[in-house]
């Protein structure tokens, strides 16, 4: 079993533990034990929007340093937001020596207090930028290989039409984080193909779900999410797959609000990409926590299986 550093991020750790569990279960089947860096904190969720504001890089740099201290050179995350912040921080430090110097000045001052003696120790090293940040989707493609799925697949998903939803954070800014062409991405489709389901192209696959505006302007977010869901539905998808827990929150958990605002909307099943992966690899249904979904995806999943069995 390979050990792999894994940064779950706060949403997976707290609100959507089912996504975390499905990730761990799927990766275990693929031969990876996911290890969290000790004492990880919030990544900041949003990369600093101004060039000169660098204090926002300290938290992600600290997480990456922890991976380095623990001897890791790769860290994966399934949250598109965390991926975006970690990856861009890593890139910024690699590209800009001055930034690296300034951040390392913060990191050197990192203080650890011994619980027993209450003594302060400041023996933290700098971050040497030796860690590679991966979104799990990218890791599966480039490090594991989608072809590995084939022999491990336990549930047949043939005929299941899945709309791959990329959202914003996986692809842009393209030269820093983009795991694929931001205008014409394919990685998610390849992933779904490898699992045996049928990816459905829909025009809203890169449009915004409303993101964290759902906190301040929930109505605006509902509208954005509704457009995405409607587009996938119109394209003939049975289910929408996504790669970001915030998108999951807006597109699934907030479907009650969407229904309120758009009464004609009857709901649409959403799956996190590791849930599909785990499902295909035969992970127990209870691990995947479908009961935590607002719109239960099970009928679609089982119906597909049944029709497959009949034909």
């Amino acid at each position: 079993m390979n050990k792999l550093h894994y940064y779950p991020g706060c949403t997976l750790k707290e609100k959507t533990t089912n996504l975390d569990n499905s990730t761990r279960a799927a990766m275990e089947i693929l031969g990876y034990e996911l290890v969290e860096p000790e004492g990880w904190t919030c990544c900041g969720a949003e990369y600093p929007l101004t060039e000169d504001k660098i204090v926002g890089l300290a938290a992600p740099a600290r997480i990456l340093r922890q991976v380095e201290i623990e001897g890791g050179n790769k860290v994966v995350t399934t949250c598109a937001f965390c991926y975006n912040v970690l990856k861009r921080t890593n890139e910024a430090l690699l590209r800009d020596p001055l930034k690296q110097k300034r951040i390392n000045a913060y990191l050197r001052d990192d203080i650890k207090i011994e619980p027993i003696t209450k003594e302060k120790t400041t023996d933290f090293p700098e971050y040497f930028s030796t860690v590679w940040v991966f979104h799990l989707l990218e890791f599966l493609k480039n490090e594991v290989g989608f072809t590995q799925f084939h022999s491990l697949i336990k549930r047949n998903l043939k005929g299941l039409k899945v709309a791959p939803y990329y959202g914003c954070r996986l692809l842009r800014p393209a030269d820093e984080v983009g795991i694929d062409d931001p205008e014409d991405p394919h990685i998610f489709e390849e992933f779904l193909n490898a699992l045996g389901c049928e990816p459905v192209d829909f025009p809203f696959k890169q449009e915004c779900c409303g993101s964290y505006i759902s906190v301040s302007l929930p109505d605006a977010a509902s509208e954005a999410s509704y457009q995405v869901l409607k587009s996938a539905q119109n394209a003939g998808a049975d289910i929408l797959a996504l790669s970001c827990p915030l998108c999951y929150y807006n597109l699934d958990r907030r479907q009650d609000r969407i229904r309120e605002k758009f009464p004609e909307f009857t709901g649409f099943p959403i799956l996190f990409f590791t849930q599909i992966l785990a499902w295909a690899l035969g992970v127990e249904e209870s691990v995947l926590g479908f009961d935590q979904h607002f719109f239960d995806p099970r009928p679609v999943l089982y119906q597909e299986q049944k029709t497959e069995a009949v034909s």
Partner: protein, 654 residues
């Protein structure tokens, strides 16, 4: 014949304030007056002016100067001017040298004192150089008074006709089965709305009938060797499998041909057979068998066309031919292509049928097009009621696509929208633009007419996304004048795709060894003063191969290129710069290093003497061989190692 006792004069130019504001020109003149061999030194406000030149002329005569230095601007500007003055005064023109104290002095420095000191050092080094200069005579070459024009679009046709009308023979080489280029595909032309075919076909016919023009369609230039006035060109004749002399255009072969392929002339909006006439007015008027799509030439496999060909014009045994021609000048008119839509995935790539590019829409508008001039969209043949036009698709986008402006799209989009409104008066035409650039004769009036008379809606802003939703095409954009998001349900979208260099032309250009700019367009010898010549002598540029252009500009450039060819051919003999790099045979060991560094192929090893021989005409005097030669056998005339060391010493001492 070293002459170290030359009497040298120095003339320092102020160039108004261009030099004098940074370099203390009087001090330069004064400081140089005492320099060995300098017998006269002065400064003047404009050396290139009439009085300035006269002063130089008089001084040469009065003082009996043997050589002179003009300290002024770059030699690319006025070396010729002062060489002529020297000639008038009876001096050999190679006894003058320019000390560049402007581009390499005042323009690049701000410290007056240091710039002045540098100017003095530059002058000193030039004195050292000129005191060892030899008298040289230009090398004379014969001219082959016959031109080749590559490309049979409007620019190539115009250039060929003009050269032929000057009385010189022209070879017109076109890779496609017919001449006509992109212009013959257009429906109507801005800003007069003349029918493009109506003004193009007479020129095509004229070219085919002109006694001085040898038309080589379905031919390709394979290689070019030689030099200005004396090029040897290898041309490949692609087999047409049909004798143009016998083909009577009955069209029987086309009827029986079982192979249906997409029609290039109609931009893939219709189909043709593997044996085809590109378009009704094609010149030469003959069918062509497209071997790539033919089922095979063995009669056993198909052979249907040959069976029905009454005049027996089809010959399956025709083979590729390569032949050689000699020409003195080459006009490169290889045209353009459109940036392909797959670069713009956000606009649907090429996946949405009803999102078309400008040339496709030309064919849809054209009376001879696949829809007979009725505006119908490709997906279902419906007449679109809402058409959105998007300008600058792939142009003016430094970050992702092409940095340049494609220049003609503002006007042709106005034309497209206007023609659409004429054909579908109750339809809506909307144009998204960044700027409307209508800077040509009667261009802005034309654009005004589109907005006012034809009620085309212009929205200033870019389009972010185009996608299909049910049977509509959704266009998302922004109106930057009101700051509003715009969403249009369109039936059809026309993208004004950027113009780019012709696909695959780089192989030809590599063969011709002519320079291109960073975007792949042919580079002119000087962007302002020599716009139709290439830096490589004997090559001339015409049309869009040199960059985006409209038809009037293309025609002007083609005529200008033809005139330049005329200039060349009018000379009794060509004069070649004598500052070449000959070989001192006693020193040459025949190692051949210089042969490999020569970019012009001017050097070769004499197999008997085992020394390098130089083709004086091909040598451009770049000096690469002189730098590479390990034994000092390659010495550039008037730029010998001895001169360079003296110059360095003068430059660096005290």
């Amino acid at each position: 014949m070293k002459n170290t006792k030359k009497k040298i004069g120095l003339f320092v130019c102020h160039c108004g304030v261009n030099i004098a504001s940074i370099v203390d020109v009087e001090r330069v003149a004064k400081a140089m007056a005492d320099y060995p061999n300098v017998v006269f030194s002065t400064d003047y406000v404009y050396m290139c002016s009439e009085p300035g030149q006269k002063m130089i002329l008089d001084t040469i005569k009065e003082r009996g100067l043997d050589a002179l230095i003009v300290a002024a601007c770059s030699p690319t500007l006025h070396e010729r001017t002062f060489q002529n003055v020297a000639k008038l005064a009876g001096l050999n023109p190679y006894q003058i040298e320019i000390a560049n104290i402007r581009e390499q002095g005042s323009w690049v420095h701000s410290d007056k004192k240091k710039a002045t000191e540098k100017a003095i050092r530059i002058c000193r080094s030039m004195v050292e150089k000129v005191s060892q200069n030899e008298n040289l005579e230009p090398i004379k070459v014969d001219v082959h008074r016959r031109a080749m024009v590559i490309g049979g679009g409007i620019s190539g046709l115009q250039a060929a006709l003009d050269i032929a009308d000057h009385g010189y023979e022209v070879l017109l080489v076109e890779k496609n089965p017919s001449i006509g280029g992109h212009m013959i595909q257009l429906s109507e032309t801005f800003p007069t709305l003349d029918c493009s075919q109506c003004i193009m076909t007479p020129k095509m016919v004229e070219v085919s009938r002109h006694p001085k023009i040898k038309l080589l369609t379905y031919h390709e230039v394979k290689s070019v060797s030689g030099f200005v006035g004396n090029f040897r060109v290898k041309i490949r004749k692609k087999p047409r499998y049909i004798d143009p002399g016998l083909c009577n255009l009955c069209g029987e072969c086309e009827k029986v041909c079982p192979q249906v392929v997409s029609d290039e002339f109609n931009m893939g909006l219709s189909f043709r057979k593997a044996i085809y006439l590109p378009f009704p007015q094609a010149v030469p008027g003959t069918y062509t068998l497209d071997i790539e799509n033919c089922l095979g030439l063995l009669p056993i496999r198909c052979g249907k066309c040959k069976e029905v060909c009454e005049p027996n014009a089809i010959n399956y045994d025709e083979a590729e031919e390569i032949f050689e021609e000699e020409v003195g000048a080459i006009v490169v008119a290889t045209g353009y292509d459109l940036y392909t839509m797959d670069h713009l995935a956000e606009y649907g790539g090429e996946k949405i049928d009803d999102v078309v590019n400008g040339l496709e829409f030309e064919r849809i508008l054209s009376a001879s097009g696949p829809t007979g001039g009725v505006v119908r969209r490709p997906s279902d043949g419906e007449v679109p009621k809402n058409v959105v036009f998007v300008q600058c698709c792939g142009s003016r986008d430094t970050e992702h696509h092409n940095p340049y402006c494609s220049k003609i799209c503002c006007m042709y989009t106005a034309k497209h929208a206007m023609l659409y409104k004429h054909r579908v008066p109750d339809g809506n035409a909307t144009v998204f633009y960044i700027d409307v650039r209508a800077g040509g004769k009667a261009f802005d009036e034309f654009y005004q007419r589109a907005t006012e008379e034809d009620e085309v809606l212009y929205i200033r802003g870019k389009v972010s996304k185009i996608f299909r939703e049910n049977d509509k095409i959704m266009v998302w954009g922004v109106d930057t004048l009101t700051g509003q998001k715009v969403e249009i349900e369109a039936d059809m979208v026309v993208l004004a795709m950027s113009m780019v260099k012709t696909d695959g032309v780089e192989n030809l250009l590599k063969e011709l060894k002519i320079a291109t700019d960073s975007n792949g367009w042919l580079a002119e010898a000087h962007p302002k003063l020599r716009p139709v010549e290439s830096l490589n002598a004997g090559f001339y540029l015409a049309g869009c191969a040199n960059g985006p252009k409209d038809i009037p500009e293309t025609v002007s450039q083609a005529s200008a290129a033809a005139a330049k060819v005329g200039d060349l051919f009018a000379q009794a003999e060509l004069l070649h710069e004598p500052t070449i790099v000959p070989v001192i045979e006693e020193l040459c060991s025949g190692c051949g290093i210089c042969i490999h560094v020569c970019p012009y192929g001017a050097r070769e090893l004499d197999p008997v003497l085992k020394v390098v021989k130089v083709n004086e005409i091909l040598c451009e005097g770049c000096g690469a061989c002189a730098a590479a030669c390990p034994s000092g056998a390659a010495q550039q005339r008037n730029q010998t190692d001895g001169q360079i060391f003296s110059m360095l010493k003068a430059m660096l001492k005290g």
